[in-house]
Structures are given as C-alpha cells and as structure tokens.
Amino acid sequence: MVGGGRFDMARLVPRKLDRKLLRDLWATKMQAIAIAFVVAAGIAVHVVAAGMLDSLQETRRAYYDRYRFADVWAPVVRAPDRLLADIRDIPGVAAAETRVTSHVLFDIPGMDAPASGQAISLPDSGRPAVNHIHLSEGRLPRRGQRDEAVLLDAFARAHGIAVGDTVSLTLHGGRESLRIVGIALSPEHVYAVAPGQLVPDARLFGVVWMGREALAQAVDRDGAFTEAVVTLEPGYPEAAVTGALDRLLAPYGAPGAYGREQQISDAFISSEITQLSTMARVLPPIFLAVAAFLVNVVLTRLVAMERTEIGLLKAFGYHDGDVVWHYVKFAGAIGVLGLAIGLGLGTWLGRQMAVLYTEYYHFPFLIFRLEAGVYLSACLVTALAVGGGGALAAWRAARLDPAVAMRAPPPPDYSKSIGAGLTRWQMLDRQTRMVFRQILRWPGRSAFTLAGVSVSGGLLIGTLFFLDSVDVMIDVYFNSANRQDVSVSFVEPRSREAFHSLRRMPGVIEAEPVRQVAVRLRHGAAEERTALSGVPRGARLSRMVDLDNRSVEAPPGALVMSQDLADKLSIAAGDRIEVEVTEGRRPVFELPVSAVTTTLVGSGLQMEIGDLNRLLGEGRVLSGASLRVDAHETRALYARLKDTPGIAGVSLQSEAEDRFVELLDQSLGTSIIIYTGFAALIAIGVVYNSVRISFSEREHELAVLRVLGFTRGEVAYVLLGEIAILTLLALPVGALLGTGLAWGFSQAMSSDLFRLPFVISPRTYGYAAGVVLVIAISSALMIRSRLDKLDMVAVLKSGE
C-alpha cells in the first residue's frame, strides 16, 4: 500500500520536478547565462587551442611526410657528387639527396629594394628523394632548359609573378634571366624567412628551384654539391648521423650538419606549437574552475531559498536521490548550454584561426582537425566541473531533514563573525558596517568573489603583457642592438677594400664591417653550433646589448655570449670555452667568455673583428657590413647594391620592423581580443552572480531600509558597497596575479628564437583595472534597477 503510493508519486515526480526545473532556470536566467558563458569561454579556449594544436601538428606531419622533409642538413663549400653513395651508406640514413644551393639577389621591376633569396637545385630527372616541393601551378624545369625555374609561391604572389614571366637575378656574381615555369610551396619554407630575419616578408625573400646541371654550371659547381639533405630511419639518433656526416664532409668545407631544430622554418613552427600548448594547458582549467565554483554558489543559494519546498518534497516521500538529481539537472542544463556555446564558438574560432594560419604559414593544405577526443574531453571536463559544483550543493539539499527544512531558517547570527568587532570603529557609519559585516560573515564567498575578479584582472594583464613584452623586444632589437638600416653580406669574405667601396655608396652615412664564421662550441659534454660575429670595438650599429640597453663588448681576445647559449653550454662569465671554426682550415681555439648577456631575439656570440681576423690567420677581411643610410637616397643605394657582384644578401631592417609590427597586430592582436573577451566573461560571471545572490538574500532587508525612509541611492550603497569593496581589493590582488602570470608566460613561451622580456607597462595595469571596473559597474547597474522595484508592502506582512 505504502509502496504503491510511493510508486505513483515517483511517477509524477519527474514531470512536476522538471517543470519546476524549467521555472527555476527561467527565474535565474541571467545568472545561468553568465555561468554558461564562463563555461563556454573555457571550452572555447580548450577547443581552439587543442584544435589548432592538433591541426598544426597534423598538417605539419602530413606535409613533411608527403614531401619527404629532411631531418638533417649538411652544407659544404664543394663536395664531389660521388659522396652521395657514402652518405646513403651511413647507418640511420633512410634517404639522402645532394643539391646545389646558392644565394641570389632578385631584381624585381618596380621595387627599389633588393630581395634576397636562395637558388636550390632539383634533380634533372625524377623527384628528389628528400625535400620535394609542391607545385601549385606549372611544371618542373626540363632537363637541358637552363633558363627554366620554379618560384616560391609566396614570393610570386607578392610580386604578381605568374608562370611564363621572366625574373632577373644576380647569381654567383652574374646576371641571369629565368623563365618561371612553375610556382611551388616547400616544406623547407613553411615559414619563409630570410636568414637573420625575424619575420617573413614575402616581398623580400624568394626561392628559385632550378635544374641541377643548370644551377651547378651557373655557380661553378659542376660535378659537385653544396648541401646534402637526409632523412633518418625512424627512431635513429640524429647526433650519430650528423657526426658521421661531419666526419665524411669535413674535408669539403662543411660548417657542420644540423637537424630540424636549427632549420629556421621548422623552428618557428615548433615555437608556435609550444605557445599553443601552453595556452591549451593554462587557460581552460582556470575558466572551468571558476564555472564550477559559480554553479556551486548559485545552487547553494537556490537550495537555501527553496528549503521549504525541499522539505515538502521529502515529506511527500521523495527520495534523497530525486532531490539530488533535480539540482544536478539544474547544473547540467547550465553546463549543456555552456558546452554548446563553447563548442560552437571554439569550432568557429578554430576555423577562423586556421585560415589565418594557412595565410601566415605556407602550407599547401591545412588539415583542420578537431578530434572527437577534443570534444569528448570538453564534455567530460565540463561534466566534472559543473556537475561537481552542482552535486555538492544538491547533496546539501538532499541531506536537509524535512521537519527542519520546512521551518524558516534562523536569522543569520552576526555576533560570532569577526565583523562584530566593527562596533568599536565609531567613524564607520551603520550602512558601511553592514557592508563590511556582510563581507566578513561569509568569508568563503567573499574570498571567491575576490579571487574571481582577481583572476579576471590577472588574465587581462597576463595577455596584455605580450604587447608590452614584444614592444620592448622590438625596441631593443631594432633600436639598440641592430641600429643599421641595411645589412649586406658577401658571398665570400672580402678585403677591406670592399668595405670602403660600400661606405662610398650613395646615401651611406655610417658603416661597420662584420666578420662572421660558423663555429661549434664545446664545454664539457655540451656542444652547440652557432655563428661567431666579429664587430669593431665601439660598434654603434650591430652590437650586443644588455637588458638596460648598454652595449656589452668583448675585451681583447675574449668572447661575449648570449644567455641562452651560455645556459645550453653551462657557461658563466669568466669560463673558457672550446671554439671550433667550421670553415676554412677549421682551427680550434680555447677562448675566455668575458660576459654573458641576455639577448631577446636569437643567440649571439661576438668578439672584436680584429681579434677574430688574427685568430683565423687572415688579413683584415669581412663577410658583410652594417649600414646606416639616408632615407632619401635608398633608391640609388639599392640600385648600386643590385649591380654589385659578390653580394649574397641584403636585408632591410626598417622594412623588417614595419613588417614585424604589422604581423604582431594581426596575430597577437586577434588573440588578445579573444582572451580579453574571455577574461571579461569571468568577471561578468563572478560579479553579476555575486551581486545577484547578495540581492536575493537581502531583498527583504533592503526593502525594510526603503520603508525606513532610505533613498534608493542609500540602499544601493548597502547592497553594492560589498562588490565595490571586493572589486577594489581585487585590483591589487589581480595585479599581483597578472604579474605572476606574465612572468610564467615569459618563461614558458621563450624559445630558441625569442625571449619575451618580463615587462608590464602601467598602461596594461590601467587597462586591466579599467575593464574590471567597467564590468563591475555595469553588473551593479543591472541589479540596481531591481532596487526600484522592491516591494515595501510585502515586507510589512512577512518575516525574514
């Protein structure tokens, strides 16, 4: 009988309870939406970051695979073709190819500035065994057609060059006219950046692929090659193969074989991947933790307001499980909403970003992949966060004893809270005491609001920090360390006379010689390949500077080294290091490192140019020069440089800076808008919910104040003072948090290529504070309008 009754009841439960659920959701819709958006932000970041990470990695893997991207590069000055068989025999080599490469200077009609680039040979028949190219248009050069070439896609597009056009360039000191028969992308130039440059500039860096015989004859390498490229057997250690290659190729002027980590294009992509995975790891958990807490707070409040109903339900015979399930469904509805928005937004943003990536990186295809796993983990994590937050509150509801639940709860007792002591503070008016006691009475909740707003502010600072950091990086790199407008490099070291003729060129205001040699550094077991630069004492253009922008120079016979190199080699200032020059006669020295300094971009190793010349046993020769030029005469200068034989490359610093800034505006700008938005969502979720909850708890009290003759403004003060104080407290806490986050990012995101200086401008703090304040004020205003609708009459008739 009893069992039967309960059965009937249980059958009625879901429908009635579900209707209550819908009503509860509707009544708390703004809060529910605010929480759903926080969930959505976390999920979206997760999906975007994980999706981009997946896509980028997968695209790279597929591209490298299909086009047999090399694992190791081994440049030489000139080595006979017959060595190819020996290279293929090296254990661990899966495939090997030799090729001829050379620097080129393009002469593009209508463009004053000389574009540098590379000519790379393709086998005269068949596809290369390593480093194939992807023809997007046209065909490969035909055997025997010496003037045919394939041009790098980005460069062709930047200059509007099409198949059938002719391109003129300087190759090995001679002028050549090449007919473009194909346009191609290459896995070696996904990030098409000129050596020594920071950012790709499609206009200023090009690659031409020519037939092997044609290129070899043009650069005087008949029957020889200038670079071996190999792929490795899976899992075979790279070092063993580079070692064998170095031994084999040492007699042919090999500066040392290197792997993908030193291949500039791949290094850039790897650093991007590192950044994405940092974002993917750090941000989503923050959002979801906040969402979990919000769900818990809102549900706890709902449970408190519905005590009587819960008691009634239980008195009717509903099980604890029914009650728990009811409230978990409430949380679930919010979670599902957040999940839906987040997955949708994340997928959409992911696609947008993918388009951006295809433009930025030159992939022939982009595999936009959002694995089921990403969605699945998003669902799982949301379920855990939101469900967990909800279950806790629901459990509290279920545990209520029906008899107790149906009585109104006793008035909150403030006498036990530390806020009671405020009585002694006579200067505090009563309304302000109410505000403070409200904060102190529920320290956990206040702390959460404080933490939520702080996290939001911190996230803002943490993301805006990138702009500050990069500003400093650009400033130091371009305005302190590399103040030249133009860098010129020669095909081979030249005498002092070449420097003087450069200095006499039109528009040149100041010039400094540079001698650069490839070296291998050894300290203990550590070994690094790098370039050693010789610069004049008192160099004003290209130099190494410390973090205070002071020039750091090497004393006679000693080296200055960048911090990243020193770290890899475990070197401190004052140590001695073995330097093997991997060019010419390949001498080995032991030299003292006089100073170690932090460089923000790339690595650096310098000594005085005269010292370097003496060490190398050569005369006063140089491999290039840094020039400061008169902006009005660049045209004439560029024209002269294009006509000067023996120039391997010209890089234009000012253009590089513009391009860098432009690039950052595009990529960083977009991310910052997205993350600022997400940080704002947290603030909205936390502030709105906490004011809304506070309002519903104190609605009665506030109405009483109105009855007593307090104006709406005065009542608003009592309600909103709490959030105002917590927000103001959150500002410094958020600033600290953001500073920590920025420091963490500066550490986590520094790569071999960049070091993000840890600098936060006052503007960033101000902006973050501004955003938080605007959100707090707008949330407060949304609630304030409810104060006008307080029902004073109802107060007279009801208890608490």
């Binding site: 008016d429 006691r437 007593l708 005065e714």
Partner: protein, 244 residues
C-alpha cells in the same frame, strides 16, 4: 516635500482622508481593498484599527505610511496633499515623519541593537540618541547584542526604539504584538504608550486583539474596505490591565 511641522496650526488633524479608494488589479479580477474611506485622526491620538483580515486596514496603513498610493480620493498629512506625491517625496516623508513597527520586527541582522537604532538617527534631523531611545523601551542593557542574540519581545522593543529614535510625528504599527506571548506583548504596548505620551506621536496600531482597543483614544473598526464604526474611549486602560 516641504517640512509640514509649521502647518499644524491651520489643521488640527494629523491625517485626513476623503473618499479614499484602493483597487488592486483590474477588470473582473479587480480587488477593492478600500471603498471610500473618510477619516480624521487628530494629532497625538493613539488609534487602534480593528477589523477582520482583508477588511482594508493594512492597505490604509500602507497609504498613510507613504508605502503605497491610493487609486482615488484624497489623503492629507497635516493639511498637505500626499495623494499624488512623487516617490522621492514619499521617501522623504517616511524618513522625516513616520516610524514603523512591524509584526516581524525587521531588524538588520548585521547590526547590534544600538546600531539598528543609530541607522535611523544617522539620517534623522532631530533624533534622540540611540541610548535614550533604547532606555525608553527598557533595553539599554542589551544595546550591544545582535538580533540573533535577542528574544522576540526584545527584538520588537528594539524595533520600537528604532521607530521612535527619530522623534516621529507618526507611529504606524502593523500587528506589533502578533508574534509575541501576552506578557511580552504587554511590555511592547507599554512602550508604545510611553512613546505616545512622552513624544506626542500620533500612533496607529493595527491589531486582531480587540482587548488592545481599551488603551486607545480612538478605536476605528473596519469592514469590507470601509470604516464601520469609530469609538472614542472616554476612559483608557493601562496595557497591563488589558484583557488579552
């Protein structure tokens, strides 16, 4: 709203209403809470409003207290027409002239007894000190306790102290003893009587307890939204002698 104190010489009635109506809702579902109330309540009177639930006495009190507006008719406080006063003017009216006592005390739980009183004296123009107000209701020893630490009767006396601390011209009490036992209820009524006599505040008390009527100057009985009967007591009983 102007300060109305100076106008008492022209009009001896504290409250005057003519044809006061109040309708909630509209059409078929309209509820007529007041159906034309004509009343005159002299300055300084202690008035008891009697009547069954739904007879309109609370609606009248709400309108007199500036918490609600009538649908029709006229309502004057010391000769000033408040029938169509703005929200802001009504707020100022409550703030300066009216003291409320509710059935459920409605103290601020986060303030001590003294602070609850001071909350009102802070915004009053010529208030008593919190100490004086609490002394009038005999609670000076419990001044630093929070509401959660006080009994129901004590809480209600704090509420009275809060209401009188601003020296109101009007005290409006809706079922002030409704939640209290008889001994406590009598203490509360004594406090109200003391306030009426020492401060001269016009006091209107709504009650279900007909016995309370004996302590009033004037007893108004309500039925069905109208004034049924007005009785003037020639002899008033002391609260402790009331039949509870």
């Amino acid at each position: 709203m102007q300060d109305t104190r100076g106008q008492s010489s022209r009009d001896t009635a504290c409250f005057r209403t003519r044809g006061l109506t109040k309708v909630y809702g509209s059409g078929a579902s309209a509820v007529h809470a007041l159906r034309g109330v004509d009343l005159e309540i002299p300055e300084g009177d202690l008035v008891v409003l009697l009547g069954p639930s739904g007879s309109g006495k609370s609606t009248l009190l709400n309108i007199l207290g500036g918490l609600d507006r009538p649908t029709g008719g006229e309502f004057l406080f010391r000769g000033e027409d408040l029938t169509r006063a703005s929200t802001r003017a009504l707020t100022l009216y409550r703030r300066r002239h009216v003291g409320f006592v509710f059935q459920f005390y409605n103290l601020m739980p986060s303030l001590t007894a003294r602070e609850n009183v001071e909350l009102v004296t802070e915004i009053a123009q010529n208030g008593l000190s919190a100490g004086e107000a609490l002394e009038l209701v005999g609670l000076e020893k419990r001044a630093d306790h929070f509401p959660a630490e006080l009994s129901g009767g004590e809480q209600q006396r704090v509420a009275i102290a809060r209401a009188i601390a601003k020296r109101p011209e009007v005290m409006l009490c809706d079922e002030p003893t409704g939640a209290l036992d008889s001994a406590t209820g009598i203490r509360v009524l004594q406090a109200l009587k003391t306030v009426n006599e020492t401060l001269g505040a016009t006091t209107i008390i709504i009650t279900h307890n007909a016995g309370v009527a004996d302590m009033a100057h004037r007893v108004i009985t309500f039925s069905d939204g109208q004034v049924g009967n007005v009785r003037v007591n020639t002899e008033r009983a002391n609260p402790e002698d009331l039949a509870w």
